[in-house]
Symmetry: C2
Subunit: 175 residues, 2 copies
């Protein structure tokens, strides 16, 4: 961030009055430009004893398997974002969504929010950002070909919890 | 958003290839400037049968009562953000935080994430953004002088749940 997005002037780095950390400040129009973490919302779609995974058609981690998830957009709820991403990446409609993992990743300033979900219609297919979409039983999960640690962690917790039959919310941090 | 924060050129509005909504695009350095919701993290600090509220010393809603909460910063976890805000606004240290309400507010593109929490040390006091900090029993809550709907909704759910003794996660949307 080098220029003010409102007036185009060059920004300086400084600690505003009453603040305790450096911000990008526009000395010309006096705007302080804050930067905040982004939410990645998605689902863990469950069909019988299997879960749905998508093989990524785009970077990062092209060719690796992921749960349908993506950046939450302005003017939507977290659940709407998770449903939209599932539709876009897996052409699947979900219902009975329950928030299941909230994983903060401070080193990239992201927060993953993943819902356990059922499919409300039986169909699914690869959307434009997926090479293929498939159902996997626990034994079939391609653990070494998963795209992100948030995905492997969510699946790991799910299979652990499924063995006990209770699915508490998991609020964790990846260091 | 009018100017590219990376190169200073004027931005145009357009739908990037493969996207389905308008973004601010820099035709000069080809950067797409996404805008995403912000997380507001905070706590509902509980001391015996009372809860802690702060009277706001700053706008918006100066003079009204709120739970300690504020914008999550880059490079922290949601729980760290909630603890930091509680320290800054109420000079209170929390422990045993349990995520309790997640309230999406699509019309201002914010997501509130509030933790039920105990105080790990007995003291509290008004931080620079608070006029006063006080403990309130259910009967004493100043319902008409609460700063935000997310605060009144979190308190309402808490007193309802306390009557039953179970505190499930509430994932809601304010329309």
């Amino acid at each position: 961030m080098k220029f003010c997005s409102l007036c185009g002037s060059e920004l300086t780095l400084g600690i505003p009055e009453g603040d305790d950390r450096e911000r990008h400040i526009c000395d010309s129009c006096e705007t302080i430009h804050y930067q905040n973490p982004k939410i990645v919302a998605g689902t863990l779609p469950i069909v019988g004893d299997k879960v749905l995974l998508c093989r990524r058609a785009i970077e990062p981690r092209k060719g690796f398997w992921t749960l349908p998830a993506g950046f939450m957009e302005n003017e939507e709820s977290v659940k709407e974002a998770a449903r939209r991403e599932t539709w876009e990446e897996a052409c699947a409609r979900t219902c009975q969504e329950e928030l299941y993992t909230i994983i903060s990743i401070p080193y990239i300033s992201q927060v993953y929010m993943m819902y356990r979900a059922e499919l409300s219609e039986p169909g699914f297919a690869a959307g434009p950002e997926s090479l293929e979409v498939r159902l996997f039983s626990e034994e079939e999960i391609p653990w070494k070909e998963l795209a992100f640690r948030t995905v492997s962690r969510t699946l790991e917790l799910f299979f652990q919890d499924r063995a006990t039959g209770t699915f508490p919310l998991h609020d964790e941090t990846l260091e």
